[in-house]
Amino acid sequence: MNFADEKFELIEIQRLEGHTDRVWSVAWKPGSGGNGVPALLASCSGDKTFSSFDAATAIWENVGDDFECISTLEGHENEVKSVSWNASGSLLATCGRDKSVWIWEVLSHNEFDCFSVLQGHTPDVKMVHWHPFMDILFSFSYDNTIKFKIFKAEDGDSDDWHCVQTLGESNSGHTSTVWALSFNANGDKMVSCSDDLTVKIWGADIARMQSADGNAPWTHLCTLFGYHDRTIFSVHCSREGIIASGAADDAMCLFVESEDGLVDEPFYKLLLKKEKAHDMDVNAVQWCSAENTLLASASDDGTVKIWQLTSSSGNEKLSL
């Protein structure tokens, strides 16, 4: 995509209504949405359910098999706050108001089996997110920090989670609650957003990470400030490196890396701001991994919206 010369727009192509309370989070199943595979979208809500929407059909409805899943996934004691698929789509992590993190294994036929429950390892976990290709679980919290954990399966039954690093104010971290985090496609850059009204970009040495089973330090690269005037609840990087953000000012922003920065310092600029993307707070934004220009958003207004990123050159869809 040519970000410098063309003008871009976000066009709403679908609105999903069905949750009876605010929608906190939305996630596309990896590998779906392109190459003839129907897109599968999961969303979770204050109505204490977890819904799977089949994007291939014109009507958005709960897939029949999932009634069974929903009863299993009601393991959380109260609101399901966040969902995240790992890279292969074999594991789903959910994080609830009850402060626990649940790991679900995906069986065949879209059935889910609870694999692990992690209790109280971080006070008030806001969201959980997997690294794009390593099974490292990142969590971030009301205490303004970001923590990463590596899962080590021990012999026998005990599963061991180790916290590898904590990013706080002393690392140029956030000065208020961290609400979300996202990785670029290479897995060597991470974007976080916060109640402190900033979006921060972090980097790590990927080779070191791979050789040390995920154990490599992350450093602050850049802070984006002044684009949202209320809590930023969500960020997500597309495969092409477009950062989407969603905030309590009802708006969404898209950022791209710019050529104008110094040689060693990555520099990001605003591609577009979608004011009034929803009627109320935008709680989540997520790009579809197989279809680069599709973006899903979830809001306090109870809806999930699907957006298409288009360019002024008139193409309905941008080719990859």
Binding site: G46, N78, E79, K81, R97, D124, K126, Y142, S176, T177, D195, R230, A248, D249, D250, D279, M280, D281, D300, D301
Partner: protein, 154 residues
């Protein structure tokens, strides 16, 4: 919870005279700070059998509205610096005003600057919608809040 009252001898003020308002506030979208004040002034204090207005926790100046931006700020003053009921009062305000405004309005609730020892932490909790939601799911807190909101209607 604490055994004795935090503030055993609060200063109680007389209720201000009420201005009769017409009932057509629902027809227009304008948000009137005095109308909001009317709606919250009688919330009962969690500890004392008086309203927030009588204890000067709230006053007309507590409410500021920015129509253009769609922002509402409510500032309240706990009776003492170490009031441990401060978050309950904040929750009462949140719950009372829930769904009261057109959806695009954003409501911030804070303690008056310098009025509480844990000002920053209290403000952070009261303006984290997730924490507020979680607090209101706690049966004990819920009961406290309900008592403050509904006793004034008896």
């Amino acid at each position: 919870m604490t055994l004795g009252l935090i503030n055993a001898n609060p200063v109680v003020h007389a209720k201000k005279e009420r201005v009769v308002r017409t009932e057509d506030s629902h027809t227009d979208d304008a948000v009137d700070p005095l109308e909001i004040y009317d709606f919250v002034r009688d919330i009962r204090d969690p500890e004392h059998p008086y309203s927030l207005e009588q204890l000067s926790v709230l006053s007309e100046e507590s409410i500021t509205v920015d129509e253009k931006l769609g922002r509402i700020l409510i500032t309240f003053t706990p009776t003492i610096q170490h009031c441990s009921m401060v978050t309950v009062i904040g929750l009462c305000l949140r719950e009372k005003l829930k769904d009261h405004f057109p959806p695009h309005f954003k409501v911030d609730i804070k303690v008056a600057p310098g009025s509480h020892a844990n000002e920053e932490s209290v403000n952070k909790q009261l303006n984290d919608k997730e924490r507020v939601s979680a607090a209101l799911e706690n049966p004990h807190l819920r009961q406290l809040v309900d008592e403050c909101l509904y006793s004034s209607e008896l």
